[in-house]
Symmetry: C2
Subunit: 129 residues, 2 copies
Amino acid sequence: MDRIPILKLGSALLVTIQVDMHDQLAMALEEDLTKKIVDTGASGVLIDISSLEIVDSFIGRMLDNIAAVSRMLDAETVVVGMRPAVAITLVELGLSLNGVRTALNVDRGMALIQRPDLRKEVAVDDDDA
Amino acid sequence: MDRIPILKLGSALLVTIQVDMHDQLAMALEEDLTKKIVDTGASGVLIDISSLEIVDSFIGRMLDNIAAVSRMLDAETVVVGMRPAVAITLVELGLSLNGVRTALNVDRGMALIQRPDLRKEVAVDDDDA
């Protein structure tokens, strides 16, 4: 497996992270994603990390990178399915994923991408957290 | 990785096969899927195999099994993203995946699940093929 599949889902792209990420795989994913955002005109990117038991600084940086590049291409990135333990670890590590929006599950993430009015409310919630 | 994540997507469940399947993983997936169909009341299961370069009889049987069990639970199974080469190989091997519906991509698969009227048209097409 040298590529992570990117699924088109309405106006969004969906990536499910299932395997251990390493440099090359992360770079390939970023490249493929940017290409696919341009090709499809997607307005958002959903990254599901529900199967990740650990999110270290490498993955955190990758998510930040993807979000930053997607934003340049006018696509919102939403990380979905984060496990409670992962959230705790991220905060303990000081990795707050500032540039990345989160949602509990894919449905909520899709709602965020499709309804910009919801984005603002969530943005305010993020500030409180 | 001992579990393949199952994402809820509106009224459907989505599974992306990214890793090599083996007995235990396939059994775990079937179990998790049936449990999740019951828990969520999902009306369909989408299985994305776009990253699979080879679908052998083991995977074919797994897909058939999942479709048969899901049907018992009143959920339609649609395999999406099959590569052209995989389709050719499946036919050459005599594995026609009779019990499984297919769609080119996730969006079309979702349409199949959400609009039963489309299902029949496709069923007729399947008979012709």
